[in-house]
Subunit: 178 residues, 2 copies
């Protein structure tokens, strides 16, 4: 509870719906290596419902969503809370803007081919798209701008959750660890 | 940076515009007694601009504003960050709802007669009201529902900033201190 010099990090999980962002962020939160740290997981879906109900899924609203989540991550990390963000955040420029504002920032590209993501379809997004109920879906009728130089690149179609988690935790400990 | 059992508190400063909420919350943040704690100050005006630009000043929007700030305070305190909130929050029910959701909660009633607040007018709210530019001003054409049983009652028209700060810090240390 000391007001020490904050050195908290932000780990930003970006990728298509179904790529595995939530799964991996929860796995990192539960990993024994991070258990000793003060870590908070921000789930973009929860935040939209609880804090940003005004935002929809237009490009400008998605960019604003990323900006606001970045503001929250800044608030938490400035107070010594390491922050995991699971957010599709398909616009590269919006992610880069957040990166510039946060001190210790790791971009994790959670990557899986869209076909695999569509099979997983954890929140039914792709099914609703096929049924014509939703549009502006990144990877389908809207672009997903993949990171050009992510700090960690997890191929969740090729590696297990455990292996991807180990990749991320190793990056945290190597680059940002206490 | 340990993920220890959080015991963080929320101090909620409520009162009219010009009563001294921002002044007192900053003074508590700077007080030598709280310097050793991890403390974050949430300013309602900043949050409206940065995170909740969709909210205006209708009764329902103000209640939603208080709910969202309470959600943020919950996020911070759950991660061990003591949180100071400076928010007019004129609706008693909205404040009470937040109080019920947060574990260690102190309500600070920052109290000054409306005439004194109008003389101070730190953000020009009362001037703009007189000029017909704004309405729904708590204490004038909208009610301010004063706390019935605040944890701390600061009469900022009678006591100095230092004396009020000492009242609040004493309450923190007595009731919620480490």
């Amino acid at each position: 509870m000391k007001r020490d010099q904050p050195t908290a990090f932000t780990i930003w999980f970006t990728g298509l719906s179904g790529a595995g962002k939530t799964t991996l962020s929860k796995a990192v939160l539960q990993d024994p290596e991070t258990k000793g740290l003060r870590v908070c997981l921000l789930n973009a879906g929860d935040l939209r419902r609880k804090l940003f109900p005004d935002l929809r899924f237009s490009r400008s609203d998605r960019e604003e969503n990323v900006r606001r989540i970045g503001y929250l991550a800044g608030l938490l990390t400035a107070n010594g809370v390491n922050t995991l963000v699971a957010s599709m955040s398909p616009e590269r420029a919006a992610r880069d803007t957040v990166r510039q504002k946060l001190t210790h920032f790791l971009e994790v590209f959670v990557d899986s081919p869209i076909e695999i993501c569509q099979q997983r379809d954890p929140v039914g997004l792709y099914r609703r798209f096929r049924q014509g109920e939703v549009s502006h879906i990144s990877g389908l009728d809207d672009p997903y701008e993949a990171p050009l130089n992510p700090d960690v690149h997890c191929r969740t179609d090729l590696l297990s959750v455990e292996a991807c988690t180990a990749q991320i935790v190793a990056a945290i400990m190597e680059r940002l660890g206490p």
